[in-house]
């Protein structure tokens, strides 16, 4: 790609991304408001008693007495100025709530992602290198097994083994609470808590990346430039690294971009099983409590992340692979 065309391309992509995000915001707004029940009735319900005045007060305070289009307009206006609204249920601004919980989810999904990519690609490369041997079979079977096991079930089993039986790792939470710790100790502590959830979330994607990279590597290995390199007597290890792996990474990268959003979805389950204080659980609890603003805030935040991630992977793709045209 010519670098001179990059700014125009980027601008076009950003505009498109903004439209997608806006569409998501509007769509979410209507979906969420279509759910039966509203935050006022839930707060009233959970406070153990209610009267008509109380409900009216709450609805007026939350702006629920306004027509839906007014509520949508207010919300859109807010989003355009990056004001995600206020959660009356939790008496806190949505941005602050999401911001508080985002690092935990990024840490979890990031760790799971790196774990999945590294282990998955290694397994895939290994299997492709020794295609047809028992190595290949074992890796293929393992990947299939990871793929076919329900995520939450793996989590439960890991807890049973490592927390209950062996007592090696903590079963829930993100850090020890009430213990004073130094910098290194704190990092180690979080690391210990992170291990099981990241493993649980990552296993499925290990399978996905293992299969994907094995397949693409086999495909690339068949192509002319590899055959040429081989004919020229380039050492096998070098061919693998310089030619095959690099090219085989492209579909993996694309796929990872698409998967970014799915990781967040999976993190709801994992965050529930491991009491991980991330936005997946924030979203799920907000849904159950009809805390509209928070739910929409999480959606907004994840869509922005996914769109950005897609953009980055596309750029990466375009830069790495000269065959891809930027249009």
């Amino acid at each position: 790609m010519e670098l001179s065309r990059l700014p125009a391309y980027l601008a076009g992509r950003l505009v498109k991304a903004a439209i997608v995000i806006l569409a998501i915001v509007v769509c979410n707004f209507f979906l969420i408001h279509a759910a039966p029940g509203d935050p006022a009735s839930i707060i009233a319900g959970q406070s153990g008693s209610a009267d008509a005045r109380f409900l009216e007060q709450l609805r007026a305070q939350f702006g629920l007495d306004q027509p839906l289009y007014v509520q949508l307009w207010m919300y859109l206006k807010g989003v355009l100025t990056l004001d995600l609204g206020f959660s009356h249920r939790q008496q806190a601004s949505v941005a602050a709530l999401v911001w508080d919980r985002l690092p935990a989810t990024l840490l979890l999904t990031g760790a799971a992602f790196i774990f999945a990519i590294v282990l998955g690609v290694t397994m895939g490369a290994l299997a492709a290198r020794r295609v047809g041997t028992w190595w290949d079979s074992i890796i293929t079977v393992l990947a299939l097994a990871f793929y076919a096991t329900p995520l939450f079930w793996v989590g439960l089993m890991l807890v049973l083994l490592f927390s209950v039986t062996l007592e090696w790792l903590p079963s829930f939470g993100m850090m020890s609470v009430g213990v004073e710790m130094s910098g290194i100790g704190k990092v180690l502590d979080v690391g210990k808590h992170l291990l099981l959830p990241a493993l649980t979330l990552g296993l499925f994607y290990v399978a996905v990346y293992a299969r994907l990279s094995r397949a693409t590597m086999l495909e690339v290995a068949d192509q002319d430039f590899v055959k040429t390199a081989r004919a020229k007597g380039v050492p096998e290890g070098r061919i693998l690294r310089r030619h095959i792996l690099r090219n085989a990474m492209l579909p993996v990268i694309t796929f990872a971009g698409i998967q970014a959003g799915q990781l967040i979805g999976g993190s709801i389950l994992v965050e529930t099983v491991f009491a991980w204080p991330g936005i997946g659980r924030l979203a799920f609890e907000a849904l159950l409590a009809r805390d509209y603003q928070v739910l929409m805030g999480v959606f907004f935040c994840t869509s922005v992340m996914v769109v950005l991630f897609n953009l980055i992977t596309d750029l990466l793709y375009a830069v790495v692979d000269p065959r891809v045209e930027v249009s």
Partner: protein, 281 residues
């Protein structure tokens, strides 16, 4: 057909998968005879371990037979998997065909729409949909279908894009065939093999998705599915491991077999390609 079978059978995994799948289907079909009566009936003492009390796989917290639950659950889980796959195939093939065949701005709009669905985390969307429409078997199937069609649309579009310019299609166009008959009669049959492979994997992920929804308490309370069994066993896992382990194995085997069969199909339908293309979320 013969070559198809030969190619399929060359993949030993696929044969194993097919055998497992057929066994699961047999269990599902014969459940009412093997385990007559409702799987919800309290058949024995609560929390009886496997083998005790005449219960092969033990009983649950209300004394219901886990084995009966798994057999009857196979019907529900497979049904959810199959129906939601059919629904999302209809959506995905429809949109993909339109985009791929017409191209131009239509393609652009449809692909934006598809991207849009891929941007929203699918599991979160599924939860939202089931919560809005309250958990019933219909709303669960609908939600799974809504979140699983985009890959189909992409695959179909790609196939259509490449097939559209082939000679036989152009020949049909010259002959004045209607667009619909070209799409259905000429292009679609030639695009079928990746769709077939994809759909076996989609059934598998639909079963997983249903179980995840059930796990979060968003299953149909009148349908005993495998997800329901795990979900209800999860909180007593320390006391009655059998309640979640056996349904877990049932899901595992079924999803595994569907994947193996999918790979076998891929081999058989696309003998040129190296085995195991993967790439299915």
């Amino acid at each position: 057909m013969k070559t198809f079978w030969r190619n399929f059978a060359r993949n030993r995994g696929a044969v194993v998968g097919l055998v497992i799948l057929v066994l699961v289907l047999i269990v599902a079909l014969t459940a009412p005879w093997i385990f007559p009566g409702s799987p919800w009936d309290m058949a024995g003492a609560p929390f009886a371990p496997p083998g005790e009390d005449g219960m092969l796989l033990g009983t649950d917290s209300l004394g219901r037979d886990v084995a009966a639950g798994i057999a009857h659950g196979a019907r529900v889980s497979l049904l959810v998997g199959a129906v939601s796959t059919v629904v999302s195939l209809v959506i995905g093939i429809g949109l993909g065909a339109i985009a791929g065949y017409l191209g131009g701005w239509v393609d652009d709009v449809v692909m934006r729409f598809t991207e849009f669905f891929q941007t929203i985390p699918s599991f979160v969307l599924a939860i939202l949909l089931v919560a809005i429409f309250t958990p019933t078997i219909q709303s669960i199937v609908f939600a799974i279908a809504v979140v699983s069609w985009p890959p189909v649309a992409r695959v179909v579009r790609a196939e259509f894009l490449s097939l559209r310019s082939r000679e036989f299609v152009q020949a049909s166009e010259v002959l004045g065939k209607s667009r619909i008959s070209i799409v259905l009669g000429d292009i679609l049959p030639n695009a079928l093999s990746p769709i077939v492979v994809l759909s076996s994997l989609m059934v598998a992920s639909a079963i997983l998705l249903e179980s995840a929804l059930s796990f979060l308490g968003l299953g149909d309370p009148n349908m005993m599915s495998w997800g329901f069994l795990i979900g209800s066993g999860r909180s007593v896992i320390r006391m009655a491991w059998w309640m979640s382990v056996f349904p877990g194995i049932a899901i595992f085997l079924t999803v595994l077999s569907l994947n193996l069969v999918g790979e076998g199909l891929s081999d058989a339908l696309n003998p040129r390609l190296p085995r195991n293309r993967g790439g299915k979320p």
